[in-house]
Amino acid sequence: MNIIKKTAIVALALAVTACAKQPQSIPFVQPAGKPIQVIGLVTPHMPDRAAALLATSPGKNAANAAAGAGLIGLAVGLVIAGIDAGMQSSRESTLEEMLKAESFNAPTTFSSALRTALEAKGYQVVDIPRSSQRNAGRTFQENYQAPAGQNVDAFLDILVEGYGYGAASSAASSPYRPTVYTEVRLVNADTKSVLMWDKVIYNPMGDVVRDDKVIIPPAPEFSFVDFDAVERAPQKVAEGLDVALVKTADTIGTLLR
């Protein structure tokens, strides 16, 4: 059995295991005796820039197909994958410039929307800077500390794994729409127990069947037939992303009721 076959079998086994161990969300519970009133909102982790994602493309498929055809195929596949990645990077640079020109700041928009959503549910909100721990951008905080003199009942830690625009394919019937991926955890400040854990995704690119995450369908009006159409409508693009981030924040607030 060659190594590729072994790898494929291991990958299949991992996939099956992943399905069998489908993680469940942890619903919010108010601790007995001392209800949560003040939430420390840890500055959400967000990627440096918005993504411009094509979930599937002829280029990606060609790279996959070529990679299966021996060493030469693998080399060809890597070249095609490189071209595809280059195109994505170019689209993301364009999107970044467009959002900057529209004075759209995704982290500020999201943090502000979270504060609004939490206050609407009756919580007081204290801003907590994200620590500079190792791998701080990729995982939840290891430790939580309220600022001196501030009383905090629980810490809300949010990882934005990605945000931006995504399309299912390059076909005109699969337009670019805003997308936001988050993972959320609320931790009791006193006991350090997890009061809530979940994933909230605005317009997921596939995987819409499993019930281990909250799915927010995209607003129909923010739809761009291709990336050229995205480039032609900077104001609407920023507006669509604003709606996606605010709706995601609002849904996170709903999970804390």
Binding site: P23, A65, T139, G166, S193, V208, K213
Partner: protein, 227 residues
């Protein structure tokens, strides 16, 4: 018709049945309860029990139909309901209530839990049922003193139509015999669907043991596993 012809005819019939497109499941959309008689109060007389298995999920399928009991809400609106008797336990556990989107229709759910004196312990409005997979799902922690779960239709949203756009990614794997390798091609498309909120429909209630809420387990493990 000789035996060979009979076998041939039988084979063709079997093939036709096998190849016939399977009919998608449907459920009725009930917008009006004008003809349904309602009472002011609620009764738990025909409540159905659900158990709790600490090792695995226990699920109970509930059909809310026009034959279900009907009561009036605080605004005098009619609502159909079903009652589930919650398990006797000594510690908290998780309950999920899923309103399944079937054939363009979904039960417009609200839920409350009651103690043994029928006093409300927790109330979950319609907007607490969030999109998870192909369901609208409520997920909460129940406590030992909660005796009944009442699932009711919510007149305020019945008849409302929700449009839903979703991205679907499918894959096809090809085995390359020459190189002994398998490559997978991915295809993406956008689906536009929707559903209408109904007074009737299918709901699945499930119980599971309370999760481990320790800080580093299981949530951090989940995070690590996905990366």
């Amino acid at each position: 018709m000789n035996s060979v012809e009979r076998i041939g005819a039988l084979a063709i019939s079997v093939m036709l049945i096998a190849c016939a497109p399977t009919k998608a499941p449907t459920q009725a959309v009930t917008v009006s309860l004008q003809s349904v008689a309602c009472k002011d109060g609620f009764t738990s007389s025909h409540a159905r029990p659900i158990t709790l298995n600490p090792k695995e999920q226990t699920a109970l399928e509930v059909e809310i139909s026009q034959a279900s009991p009907c009561k009036l809400d605080a605004n005098g609106n009619k609502q159909l309901y079903e009652v589930i008797t919650l398990p006797f336990t000594t510690s908290p556990y998780l309950v999920s209530v899923s309103s399944e989107k079937i054939g363009g229709s979904a039960f417009a759910a609200t839920a409350v839990t009651l103690d043994d004196t029928e006093q409300v312990r927790q109330a979950f409005n319609h907007d607490r049922f969030l999109n998870r997979g192909r369901k609208l799902m409520l997920h909460f922690e129940a406590h030992p003193d909660e005796r009944f779960l009442v699932i009711s239709s919510h007149a305020d949203v019945v008849g409302d139509v929700r449009k839903e756009i979703s991205t679907v990614i499918s894959s096809q794997s090809h085995y390359n015999a020459g190189f002994g390798t398998t490559s997978t091609l991915y295809f993406g498309s956008e689906n536009v669907g929707g559903y209408t909120f109904s007074h009737t429909g299918k709901v699945v209630v499930a119980t599971t043991a309370a999760p481990n809420r320790a800080l580093n387990e299981p949530s951090d493990d989940r995070t690590a596993r996905r990366r």
